[in-house]
């Protein structure tokens, strides 16, 4: 596939130019109220402004984000796990300890996409959203560290903390008004000069963290604490969506003064997120993704790690997140693959009718991309991707 990539790309550009202005009929609808209408097997379009607010471009898998750029819209397939997550979110109640859901499944089956759909679902229902793009960033992509002044031995991570706060602010613009109405429980004394007084809006904590990176890690803890408290008091509902959540119990690349690697429990942000996962608060939902990338080693050719929760979270993490509801993401069914196929066809993303372009040799013309719109191409796409959503998308794309 790869050597022909550029060739195929140029070819398709040529073919595509003459067909660009074909209007397509949409066989899906933009739903305003998702609460009642999560139906698996349907295509679902996210509003672009909403997608921008929810920062989908960075949170979605990069290939899907690129497709979003190209097609100018975000259309995802609502599948069984999304419906399951939505039904679990519906039972969230002020008396019920936060519900913990773990998305697990093989590579490319849509864990991250499901997570982002759930985030959007929370947005639709006016929940507060705490979304972490990847917990691995807190443990392995730590640019600068500071020793915590709040708890001895803890390691602060200002850059990630600021990023978390900024993301929080951006993603919660729809409930920002509500958040400003919520008041702090106590005086927070960040440093000698900086403090947030009691009975002030909790959004001040966020602003404080963003403006002063050296306080950001503590601000993250404080805003989480306030969110939990207000959720308990039924002021709002909170969705905590953490991608690669098993990395919170994985290995870190943060070095301490004695040059040993710090355990994840020493990282302030990891501790804050773990507290968010703990079910000592109510009226919330914690959605986690168990991802293999924490344990899989690309250089290890002999071992294949499992993608099941106990294996990925480890005993410690597993006991921490229990009791939780595991939700499996799986490969496409034939009808799901057809839905996506029809969508790509309607968008002219799959353009070629049959291999009848005289300037290319026949063996290239037999590639699925050159007969994509024919019946044979449809079948080839299914079987070449083995119904794996990631590979299906890769086969349909040029790059």
């Amino acid at each position: 596939m790869k050597p022909f990539g550029r060739l195929a790309y140029t070819t398709a550009r040529r073919i595509g130019t003459c067909k660009r202005n074909v209007t397509t009929s949409r066989h899906f609808s933009v739903e305003s109220n998702v609460q009642t209408n999560i139906e698996s097997g349907t295509l679902y379009e996210m509003d672009l402004t909403v997608a921008k607010q929810l920062n989908m471009k960075t949170h979605l898998p990069s290939q899907l984000a690129k497709q979003m750029d190209t097609l100018g819209e975000i259309v995802t397939l609502v599948r069984e796990p999304t419906a399951e997550v939505a039904s679990c979110m519906r039972v969230v109640d002020k008396h019920l300890p936060n519900l913990r859901l773990v998305l697990w499944g093989a590579f490319g089956t849509g864990k991250t996409v499901t997570l982002n759909q759930a985030v959007h679902h929370a947005y639709k229902n006016n929940w507060a959203i705490v979304n972490l793009r990847s917990a691995m960033e807190l443990t392995r992509r730590v640019k600068e560290i500071e020793m915590s002044s709040f708890v001895a031995g803890r390691i602060n991570d200002p850059s990630n903390a600021v990023a978390i706060l900024q993301n929080f602010k951006q993603q919660n613009q729809h409930v920002w008004k509500t958040l400003t109405d919520l008041l702090t429980e106590k005086d927070y004394e960040w440093s000698k000069s900086e403090r947030t007084l009691k009975e002030k809006p909790i959004t001040e904590i966020v602003e404080m963290g963003i403006s002063a990176p050296f306080l950001a890690s503590d601000c993250v803890g404080a805003i989480f604490r306030e969110l939990r408290r207000h959720a308990k008091n039924d002021k709002l509902k909170v969705l905590v969506a953490i991608d690669d959540a098993n990395s919170l119990w994985g290995k870190t690349l943060v070095k301490r003064a004695d040059r040993t690697y710090a355990p994840p429990s020493d990282l302030t942000l990891v501790v804050h997120f773990r507290r968010m996962i703990a079910n000592d608060w109510t009226n919330g939902c914690v959605l986690m993704v168990a991802d293999k990338k924490e344990v899989a080693d690309a250089r290890d050719e002999l071992e294949v790690s499992r993608h099941t929760p106990l294996e990925l979270f480890g005993e410690e993490g597993f006991e921490f997140i229990e009791p939780f509801v595991p939700i499996e993401t799986s490969n496409y069914t034939e009808s799901e693959a057809d839905t996506i196929y029809n969508y790509y066809v309607s968008k002219n993303w799959l353009a070629s009718k049959s291999g009848k372009h005289s300037f290319l040799p026949q063996y290239i013309l037999n590639l699925p991309i050159f007969l994509a719109r024919s019946e044979e191409g449809r079948k080839q796409l299914m079987y070449l991707s083995a119904f794996n959503p990631y590979y299906y998308e890769r086969l349909c794309a040029f790059n």
């Binding site: 679990c88 019920l96 300890p97 079910n279 099941t308 009791p323 509801v325 499996e328």
Partner: protein
């Protein structure tokens, strides 16, 4: 001796004697003259003896005799061989003499022995010839190859049957209950011992591998208490198979099988008594030291009970009765290899427990 005889010959015909007879004249050659006169008495007119001309010997020549015999003019004399009496004194080989049908072979060849061509009445041949179509392999007489290889001529079916019949009176019948229900063997005969005997071509009948003894013990039948059994399993290490609950002891450090068997029994005894001992430090054992993760008393169970309690107030319909079922599933999930199916089952039971149905 030779030298002496030479001297004596010389003394008998000395030169002096010859000279003497030459001087005397008449005496010389008297004996020769007498010999010549004896054969043909005729003398010629000069009185000189008739000297016969030698043409051929006076006896019949070999060719003449053969010619006469072939033409029937002379009879052929048959003569017995010179070693006739020796040959008559020697017995012919038994293999030619015996009648295999009448003679009892197990009497002829009662025990293991090397091949003897004269005894075995079989026309066996052994060896390699370049062209077997022209010339058959070497016959059994004087054939060393047949002597080198082991033979089982003493183990004919008849001989074995005879042997079995002889020792039958010492045997008791195999328990018919064990034949009827093979599962009974595990409880009635908890120890099984395995060893191998090796037979091979060679000068030495011993094989170093035959000393190895494998003893398999059913640990359940030792009737250990729970603590003792755990200690037993820890002491046994990887010799204990937790699926079949059997202990396998392999001993090979002694020279003979008997010694190794004794040693295996010794090891089992020591293991048993050591497992039954309770040391002071054994009381320091914590929950995390257990061999298996238990659901009862685990943090998960307390959290789950708490969650169910709160879920009831939240308006869900949790299924409290299925917590024991969940506990069993949880225990097997935590203590065995995690599979995709097990995780699905975990999710199913958890949803059932919390009263969340997948499609509401």
């Amino acid at each position: 001796m030779h030298r002496l005889s030479h001297i004596s010959t010389r003394s008998r015909s000395t030169l002096a004697d010859k000279l003497r007879s030459a001087v005397g004249g008449s005496d010389y050659g008297k004996s020769k003259q007498a010999l010549a006169a004896g054969s043909i008495a005729a003398k010629d007119e000069n009185g000189e003896d008739f000297r016969e001309l030698y043409v051929m010997p006076k006896r019949k020549l070999r060719g003449q005799i053969q010619l006469e015999q072939n033409t029937g003019r002379a009879e052929i004399k048959t003569r017995s061989r010179f070693d006739l009496m020796d040959r008559l004194a020697e017995r012919p080989p038994r293999s030619e003499e015996m009648d295999p049908e009448k003679h009892k072979w197990s009497d002829v060849w009662p025990a293991a022995r090397t091949f003897a061509a004269s005894v075995v009445p079989l026309p066996v041949r052994m060896g390699s010839r370049p062209n077997v179509e022209k010339r058959a392999p070497f016959k059994k007489e004087g054939n060393l190859e047949l002597v080198k290889i082991p033979n089982f001529l003493h183990l004919t079916p008849v001989a074995i049957k005879q042997h079995c019949d002889a020792i039958k009176k010492f045997c008791t019948p195999f328990p018919p209950e064990l034949i009827a229900t093979p599962s009974l063997a595990a409880t009635c005969l908890p120890i099984s011992v395995q060893y191998s005997t090796y037979i091979h071509q060679g000068t030495n009948i011993r094989d170093i591998r035959s000393r190895v003894v494998t003893m398999i013990v059913d640990v359940e039948s030792l009737k250990l208490t729970e603590n003792a059994q755990e200690k037993f399993i820890r002491l046994a290490g990887k010799r204990y198979n937790k699926e079949s609950k059997k202990l396998t002891i392999i001993t090979d450090r002694c020279h003979t099988r008997k010694q190794n068997l004794d040693y295996a029994h010794y090891l089992l005894t020591v293991l048993y008594h050591e497992a039954n001992k309770v040391e002071q430090w054994a009381e320091l054992k914590e929950r995390s030291d257990n061999l298996q993760v238990e659901f009862e008393g685990s943090e998960t169970k307390t959290k789950l009970v708490d969650l169910i309690e709160k879920a009831k107030t939240a308006g869900l319909k949790p299924d409290e009765s299925s917590i024991t079922e969940f506990g069993e599933m949880w225990k097997s999930y935590r203590n065995s290899e995690e599979t995709v199916d097990k995780t699905r089952e975990y999710g199913r039971q958890m949803k059932k427990l919390l009263g969340i149905s997948g499609n509401n």
